[in-house]
Amino acid sequence: MAQAIPPAEQSDERVKDISSFRKALIRPELGGIVGTMAVFTFFLLFAFDSGMFNSQGVMNWSIVSAQFMIIAVGACLLMIAGEFDLSVGSMIGFAGMIIAIFTVTLGWPAWMSIFMTFIICIAIGGLNGWIVIRTGLPSFIVTLAFLFILRGFTIFLPQVIERKTIIGGIKDASEGDWLAGMFGGKIFGGLFTWLGDIGAIATFERGSRIGEPVVDGIPMLIIWAIGLVIFGHILLTKTKFGNWIFAAGGDAEAARNSGVPVSRVKIMMFMFSAFCATVFAVCQVMEFGSAGADRGLLKEFEAIIAVVIGGALLTGGYGSVLGAALGALIFGVVQQGLFFAGVESSLFRVFLGVILLFAVILNTYIRRIITGER
């Protein structure tokens, strides 16, 4: 053991010390954090009186952000595992449509339709992943094919079965159903009644609901979003499986050589992405009471944008679920905030593009510091 290993300090002399403040700042979510602060500052300054920050307004952009969050979590974990799913939007439309067909056309109990829909959609997600793994094709192409296949079925099925492109009547059919309630219901109603009673939030002043609070509970959609973000974050950063996700996306070959079951990890992430899309679809169908052939259009890109704003690397192996959640929040707040501020809605895209560019530039810079990329 008398080998001439150089003294340890020597390997360090060329590494600059980083102050702990800077170290705390240097994290994958920084772009998302800065973006969130910028967006809130902007709207607090320019749209404070628009109703955007009263209880109804907050609920409005929270719901929209929560929708983005649900699909962003799936897209985030899949992207970190090194793959894309472009079929998310079509999957949302497809899932909604088959729930409608099961409950309304076939008359199944809502819980059974929802359950079957989850099984079918997760299986399709697994098929996506299996094809990607078996053929070695880029997931971009494979899931692009499913984008068309699923959308095609979503338009075709209701026309053949019901002779229309929107199937309604789901609300009545799922009234009182326990599983439907877990997606379309609201919780903490009592809390909001109390808040209304003590005057903390506004109540209706006329009409049939006079005296009731304008916000009467937290929609299950938001609970799902928060739950999925927490689940995704813990899975990614605190478990063995999370390490495998990073490894599979960072370098599949190296991971495989180290004994990581890369194919299994990737296929499971495709299934999770499909699961998230289905959660989105069920919540939406339960809220609207109907399924439409055009639901979920372009959602895959919105999810990917939220994930990228959140600091993930498009090529995989790096990213953060919390960052993706912030990306989704930015998305929701900007979209609804511009509406509240009375800004022409087409400017939403301009604003979003600017934020996307800004956050991604910042993230690239941070990532270089963290990972020593050149």
């Binding site: 290993i5 605190k238 490894a247 495989r256 050589n257 180290s258 004994g259 963290i370 990972t371 020593g372």
Partner: protein, 262 residues
């Protein structure tokens, strides 16, 4: 080196074909316990392909593998790792975007119970990583430092330390020194020597004769997918090894014109 004992790995007439390409055309090598066995050969000789059949990445087209005297069929790298064969591959040893500690425990994550869940025990992983790196003479800024920020030599060292920590009986190193500078090469060679003294067999691949002679006990030369024979330390000169690697004659002529500097 006692050549009478059973070899820890015996590779018999290994052939590997990729479609019409015959990468290995019958290679036989014995790895003895505790030796440093150097595998030499020019680029494209089949060295990487050969050790990949040893580490479960490729299944040989023909030939037999005996591990500790028993026939072995590795279905995937995990099987080989579990048997005690750790490999540091030529290009793909570590994941640069991940932290040192996440890399160190990749595929071997320690877990602790937290209520009904099993969580990655980061505290333990970080502590072990820092400790093992210190033993190897690398002072990390922190266990969460990304591997991408390490130098090539440091990366090789992390990979070697990882293999040793998980109790490898055989450590395969595919050209660990080919991309390194002089100082880093010396460090890696010192590490190889240290590892061998702990009783681990080392398969050291290189095309640099001087690196091989610095640490090797036995030397096997591969040329165009075939073994040209195995030599024992002290029974062969650097020039002879060099000639065998280059396939003989041409090199002699070249060497003459270059004044014996290669």
């Amino acid at each position: 080196m006692n050549t009478q004992q059973t070899p820890i790995i015996e590779m018999k007439n290994i052939e590997k074909h990729f479609g019409r390409v015959i990468a290995l055309a019958g290679v036989s090598v014995e790895i003895h316990p505790g030796e440093c066995h150097c595998l030499l050969g020019d680029n494209g000789a089949g060295k990487s392909t050969f050790i990949k059949t040893m580490s479960g990445v490729h299944k040989p087209t023909q030939g037999e593998i005996f591990f500790e005297g028993k026939p072995m069929h590795f279905e995937n790298p995990r099987d080989a790792i579990e048997a005690g064969i750790a490999t540091v591959h030529q290009h793909l040893a570590m994941i640069p975007l991940m932290s040192v500690s996440r890399n160190f425990f990749m595929g071997n994550e320690p877990e602790r119970r937290f209520g009904p869940m099993k969580l990655f025990d980061h505290d333990y992983a970080n502590q072990v990583t820092m400790e093992e790196m210190r033993k190897m003479g690398i002072n990390l800024r922190g266990p969460d430092q990304a591997v991408g920020t390490l130098s090539g030599g440091e990366r090789q060292t992390v990979a070697i330390a990882r293999a040793v920590h998980f109790g490898a009986k055989v450590l395969i190193l595919d050209e660990p020194t080919s991309a390194l500078g002089v100082r880093q090469t010396a460090n890696v060679l010192a590490t190889i020597d240290k590892v061998r003294k702990q009783g681990v067999s080392v398969v050291f691949i290189t095309h640099n004769v001087r690196h091989a002679l610095a640490v090797g006990d036995r030397f096997t030369v591969l040329n165009r997918g075939k073994t040209l024979g195995t030599a024992v330390r002290g029974e062969i000169t650097p020039e002879e090894l060099q000639d065998m690697m280059a396939g003989g004659q041409e090199m002699v002529a070249l060497e003459g014109s270059l004044g014996g500097t290669v």
